[in-house]
Symmetry: C2
Subunit: 467 residues, 2 copies
Amino acid sequence: MPSLPSLSEDALQTYVAGSRDRWLAELSAFLRIQSISTQSEHAGDVRQGAEYLRDALKRIGAERAEIVPTGGHPLVYAEKMVSPDKPTVLFYGHYDVQPPDPLNEWTTPPFEPTVRNGNLYARGSADDKGQVMLQLNAVEALEKTAGKLPVNLKFIFEGEEETGDANIAKFVPENKDLLKADAVIVCDTELFEPGLPTLCIGLRGMVYTEIEVEGASHDLHSGLYGGVAPNPLQTLSWIIAGLKGRDGKINLPGLYDRVVPPGAAERASWQRLPFDSQKMLSDEIGSPALEGESDLGELERMWARPTLEVHGIAGGYTAPGAKTVIPAKATAKVSLRLVPDQKPDEVMAMLEKRVAELAPKSVRATVRLIHAADPLLLDTNHPAMTKAAEVFAQVWGKETVFVRSGGSIPVVALFHEHLGIPSVMMGFGLPDDNLHAPNEKFNLENFYKGSETIARFLAAFGSAKGK
Amino acid sequence: MPSLPSLSEDALQTYVAGSRDRWLAELSAFLRIQSISTQSEHAGDVRQGAEYLRDALKRIGAERAEIVPTGGHPLVYAEKMVSPDKPTVLFYGHYDVQPPDPLNEWTTPPFEPTVRNGNLYARGSADDKGQVMLQLNAVEALEKTAGKLPVNLKFIFEGEEETGDANIAKFVPENKDLLKADAVIVCDTELFEPGLPTLCIGLRGMVYTEIEVEGASHDLHSGLYGGVAPNPLQTLSWIIAGLKGRDGKINLPGLYDRVVPPGAAERASWQRLPFDSQKMLSDEIGSPALEGESDLGELERMWARPTLEVHGIAGGYTAPGAKTVIPAKATAKVSLRLVPDQKPDEVMAMLEKRVAELAPKSVRATVRLIHAADPLLLDTNHPAMTKAAEVFAQVWGKETVFVRSGGSIPVVALFHEHLGIPSVMMGFGLPDDNLHAPNEKFNLENFYKGSETIARFLAAFGSAKGK
């Protein structure tokens, strides 16, 4: 491997080591803010999250750190410009978090950050507050040890990543000059396994919907009307069963037409990854067996195949005991993950058509789009990508692997389309971080080492490119 | 039609007319008590309901009116014995009510009884507090106008009818002497149409269950694990779709083997009923079309065919917005209505077997029985039944019709089995009373006329039978 860049290793490492307790305290304060963006009663908390982040940016000497109002939750923008001759890196992250329910499954409360076994447990610890804060740590550490930053920096953080409401999708195209940069750093992904430098080059897209079925004009007694009245919960079951088979195939005509299978080189690289599906089953999932398209490998199913999931079904009676009701209405939250070259609008149209076909004439069924995102596959030969891979390998002592994520980060497609620059997805989460689930955690070694990695990437990117 | 029995019509009618306001006030006070038996936080209210009823029984001069503790909500017992030479009538009803949710669909609050257009709106008004109180009204009116009751009376009221927990199912076999009677009067059914005297002679049975599906050991992110992890909500959809087809047929092998089709005479009497399925659809149901076994008539489907309904599906995320979760676990409340000669234990075994077949090996699926009841068909030639039909016709001025109910009243099977007596189901509700739904109501004319009808039945039954 090539040697590390010119800044003093010892100085940087020493600085990081000396900052651990303070950085942990700062992150913990951030995590105590219940910035749940999908729940309107937490709008004030989301605002407080933005304010905390603005102040943290000011602490590391950012200029014009400010809260930018949107139609929804605000953005936080800041910059630290050193010279027009230097390249510019744009940092992206999100300060909002998923709802914490079911609360009773948390070992310690979701908004009381707690360290156990070297991990920090809290909602948002890995997704994404921990990874936002390590970007700020990196800038602080580099400036303090190198004396002067070798790159210009811009920061754009949003508070709606978990909602899909995406006011950033308006902001980016309307502020191309403000955001102009040579590359984006996105810390919102994970290492393939502990200690393995990992760059994510592919993301699945998303069509998130709510299917509503209306039957009778009011709730009915199942004794009196069972046998003649439509039951929207039964209808939803027919629809959902009709959308996906036990073989994992999604029954939307035309859905697979645009799916581009991974190439031979990418397939070969996946073969070399330290991946064991039985280990994933036992360590990460814990169900009796895996499910899905058994004619394809697990990595291909998670990264390069469209999937359909039901996230919740509402309607009728679910409290303890028995209620013999036929509900008038029921809804299901159903999403599809998309892969290149699928188009969200085309998939939404297929879903609407299929739901209409699957619903009997005794009910009214509608599909409402909640949010959508394009799938994406990045160019591994871009200079920011090659430099990131190089530095990542140097700091962690292992060759960097390129993977995809089955998740969706809509903003990456946005930066690609409107700013014409790639997003280097160097995230420091781990596969068992329980994102979107109870007991979310972030590994503290990754928090500190991630801070160092980003610092060294900035140093390398700044010195490698004269602009 | 034969003339009315010997007590003074005018005196009884005058007494009923003069008692309307007081009876309405007494019923309203009863309805303000939130005796929701399925919700443990309302246990105190259920107790208060029992106390109210005991005191009301004391007011009409009942002896030994008392609250009888059980393993769950208490029973209320009372009696009014006039002579060992007279026949004995046992009154049954329930003072518990269904949960009122969804609350936002009520025009006026469920526990603030409100009169609109001659109807009393409140949870429990028709099911069953209004019908319990008219039994007490009848006793009071008869005694005040006839001077002396011509029958012995016993009263047994329960607070668990809506739960299916059925401590009365232990009490009845253990207290056969206490409850010994010649007939039971059950006021918990409805008129076939307004003004039409109706006796219910058949009830469907019930198997009410909760199906639980467990997949992963914890909630998962659908981006990261969509394509390989089982989704219990998807599994439930496959199971529920597999249990019932779009043709209304229930896919449980053997389920229909014991179903006894209605005989020719009963079918012919159904033909004569003032029933219009399109009117039911528009006035009572309000969905775009009816559903179910289209090869059979609607009355047969509601009264003489087993049905399967889903009452609620829990698991995952159903609050506003989007959460991309694959829930670890999901449950569905699923019940079957049974008809003669189906057996609840056999049907439960069929359901368990079928659910096990329908669940993929990636999940654990279990079926838990919440409660069960036998179906029943009564003998229309029993003296209590013929006398009830006669008096009902006299008071209301129309020939009494015999119908079945698609609902389940487990206690009727209990009285039949352990006391060896029929339950005369003379109820005064109406088809659009919104039982178990928002805006439950009870027609006030039926409340008063029902009080008179029961009074005249007691007079007729007492004079017709020397014992």
